[in-house]
């Protein structure tokens, strides 16, 4: 290493489509680092002896390790280090809440120059993809054992990828007509191009994973029926049941769940209607209720479809659970934010379409169980927004289908499957679970991490290693 010098604190910005352009299209917002920018950014990493970023990454990627390879221009080696821990780097580099994880504990943060870990991760993944098909890993000899994976989201894809390499015959059963889970039906194209998800899915297919779509476990066949054929099952069915607020007027036309709105757009490609046949309404004034990533995605999608778009959130900006970068992107693009505001009813016109959203203004009180300051209604302070669509993005919980059709599977209060945090084992032998179906709506990297742990535990159980 060169002699000690003052750290470079200038975080390299990632080139993006300008806000006034991107608010009219569905192409990806961030364009990615060039090689020069990536190398310059990587060189800023001071290669801590005891890196604090690593333990803050849920899958403990050797962050300084892959960054060092970028700094020296050895991208291939960087990819290898990265992928030994994270099988979906192109996805995580784009959607991880880095400011809450790896970048939160970066040594340069105090000095105001946090290394852009997520962007570097994305750079390596994209660099590899641009070179064509990824290197195929070694696949161990067949164990003769069969594993079924329920759900083709990040948790399920990870389990399948790990177990196929260990010599298992793996089949993924997915309810929808495409693999990818929230990555394909929820997160919009402008944040995570579907080509990236498809590439990961194709990779698994090349490794020999059998992909079965249009198969609803619990309906088409139950878990117990599958167990007659498989030696073990991993359940990664996510948290796909949308919540509504149960306030008057919620069934008016034009009131959507975030899942419906995003599914029409992303999975069914409604933004390309009528070429794709699923219709999506073109609205003039859309209000999105909620403050998480889901709400940001809905608000920014509505904007791109030409509407005036507003986020209605009951706490303040500080408590927004969405990734900071997405909040900033939304602000730049012109999404209007109404903080400390809670809808209490919707009013419609004679033909049953939503026209007005009546809201209660709030103030912040003491911190609640989540550690965030809780919103308290300000008596008598109401406000009304004219709207022609409302998207309810207040949360999801696991779909009860699998729980209710699998006797002996212990569930938590919100219908989540109870599973051991370290291994993913459930109350039933031969059944493991992980991802949002266990934790409730969380993050891609946590789902992936849970899949990793479960795959290891399943391997131990099946092959006693």
């Amino acid at each position: 290493m060169a002699e000690k010098k003052k750290p470079d604190l200038e975080r390299r910005e990632i080139p993006k489509q300008p806000p006034e352009v991107r608010r009219h299209n569905f192409f990806e917002v961030a364009l990615g680092y060039t090689e020069e920018l990536a190398v310059a950014e990587a060189r800023r990493c001071i290669q801590c002896k005891k890196p604090q970023c690593v333990p803050s990454c849920p899958v403990e990627i050797d962050i300084p390790g892959f960054i060092a390879h970028i700094a020296t221009g050895d991208f291939q080696e960087g990819v290898r280090v990265l992928k030994s821990r994270n099988c979906l780097p192109a996805v995580c580099g784009r959607v991880c809440p880095q400011e809450e994880q790896c970048e939160k504990t970066c040594a340069l943060k105090k000095l105001g120059g946090t290394v852009a870990i997520g962007r570097l991760e994305r750079f390596l993944a994209d660099w590899e993809a641009a070179r064509g098909a990824p290197e195929m890993p070694a696949i161990q000899g067949p164990t003769g054992k069969k594993v079924a994976v329920v759900g083709g989201g990040p948790a399920g894809l990870t389990v399948a990828g790990d177990l196929i390499q260990l010599g298992y015959a793996v089949t993924i059963y997915e309810a929808l007509h495409r693999m990818g889970g929230v990555l394909v039906y929820g997160i919009p194209e402008f944040r995570l191009p579907k080509a990236i998800v498809n590439r990961e899915v194709q990779y698994l297919q090349r490794l020999g994973v059998k992909l079965v779509t249009d198969f609803v476990v619990g309906k088409t066949r139950t878990i117990d029926s599958l167990l007659e054929e498989y030696d073990a099952i991993f359940v990664g069915s996510g948290a796909g049941l949308p919540w509504f607020m149960e306030i008057p007027g919620e069934n008016l036309n034009g009131v959507y769940s975030a899942n419906e709105y995003l599914t029409r757009l992303n999975l069914m490609k409604g933004y390309r209607f009528p070429e794709y046949h699923t219709p999506i309404k073109v609205h003039k004034r859309v209000a999105v209720v909620g403050g998480g990533n889901v709400a940001m995605d809905c608000a920014r999608s509505a904007l791109r479809l030409g509407a005036e778009s507003r986020i209605v959130y009951r706490r303040s900006r500080e408590e927004l659970p969405a990734r900071l970068e997405e909040v900033e992107n939304a602000e730049e693009e012109g999404v209007i934010f109404e903080f400390l505001t809670l809808p209490i009813r919707y009013e419609g016109d004679a033909s049953g379409w939503v026209r007005r959203m009546v809201c209660q203004r709030m103030r912040l009180g003491e911190p609640d169980a989540s550690g965030r300051r809780s919103p308290i209604p300000i008596a008598g302070d109401e406000t009304v927004f004219e709207v022609d669509a409302v998207v309810c993005a207040i949360g999801n919980s696991p779909n009860p289908l699998i729980g209710s059709t699998t006797p002996g599977l212990t569930l938590g209060k919100k219908g989540n499957i109870m599973a051991d945090e370290a291994t993913g084992s459930t109350s039933r032998a031969k059944i493991w679970a992980g991802g949002d179906v266990v934790t409730g709506a969380a993050t891609v990297i946590l789902a992936m991490g849970a899949g990793r742990k479960a795959a290891r535990a399943m391997h131990e159980y099946l092959c006693g290693s």
Partner: protein
């Protein structure tokens, strides 16, 4: 791809489609439905199951050619394939021992009610079948119903067969029967479901309807299928599709079904040339 085994128009605008989907029919029960896509870019639409053969692994659907997706389905030829058939979805119809059951059907419901009536008969109920249509030439599967029904009644708008008029004449039909009716089951378009329920409410006969709101996933994920029943919001795909017809909020359901009325006519007017060139551009 799910292979099309048979496809034909059975009466004007109503088609019968048989598709190979062995996984889907393995545990199929009367009253359940499937969701299908007619092509890769296609919309997902729900269709009730009108018959199936678990040994051959085939499912039979009866549908009204009404919009863009059903239009495409209607053009399918034997031997071709469709990309999605998923199911069985929804809860099976309740097949209880009620006594005398009046099965009321019109339009595609004549097909979808058939397996329910068959199971109810096998369970030991007496079956009175009432079929409704605009004119006598729109009835189909009459032989099937004749075999399982203790009585078969027709209502036609133009009076060409049976009672003249529409389902509003149901109370007369019931009054003319020599026996009390213990339960009514209705399958068909939303108006038939509503009018059938309206007709039986004053008579106090429990009435089950198979609701048909707009759906996307059919698994409880999107919530577009929500209906108010007895003042409570239910997802028709997972809590239904069968509900108590006397508890359904009909004005809300009829309104919600119209959400995409304007958009749904667009694909019917779009020329295929435009579609093809756009598609070619984006899938380079």
């Amino acid at each position: 791809m799910y292979k099309v085994i048979a496809s034909r128009m059975i009466v004007p605008n109503v088609h019968v489609l048989t598709v190979e989907a062995p996984d889907v029919v393995r545990d199929m029960q009367p009253g359940q439905f499937v969701i299908i896509r007619a092509e890769e870019e296609g919309e997902r639409i729900p269709l009730s199951v009108s018959d199936w053969d678990a040994d051959r692994g085939t499912v039979t659907l009866v549908f009204l050619n009404i919009g863009s997706t059903t239009h495409r389905l209607a053009r399918l030829e034997e031997g071709s394939g469709i990309p999605t058939v998923v199911g069985p979805l929804g809860n099976p119809a309740e097949i209880g021992l009620y006594g005398t059951v009046l099965c009321l059907a019109g339009c595609y419901g004549i097909g979808s009610l058939f397996p329910i009536a068959r199971a109810l008969k096998a369970r030991g109920n007496r079956i009175i079948t009432v079929l409704e249509a605009r004119s006598s030439f729109l009835f189909y599967w009459e032989e099937r119903f004749r075999q399982l029904s203790d009585k078969l009644v027709h209502i036609t708008r133009d009076g060409t067969k049976g009672y003249k008029g529409h389902v509003g004449r149901l109370p007369e039909v019931i009054k003319a029967l020599a026996e009390p009716v213990h339960r009514v089951i209705v399958n068909g378009c939303t108006f038939l479901l509503k009018r059938g329920s309206d007709a039986t409410r004053p008579l106090g006969i429990p009435t089950t309807v198979s609701l048909n709101p707009i759906m996307i996933d059919g698994t409880g994920m999107c919530g577009v299928c929500r209906v108010s029943v007895g003042g409570v919001t239910r997802f028709a795909c997972v809590h239904g599709p069968d509900f108590d017809g006397h508890q359904v909020d009909w004005p809300e359901l009829l309104q919600r079904r119209k959400t995409y009325m304007a958009e749904e006519v667009v694909p019917l007017r779009t020329s295929r040339c435009e579609e093809h060139s756009l598609h070619a551009e984006e899938t380079r």
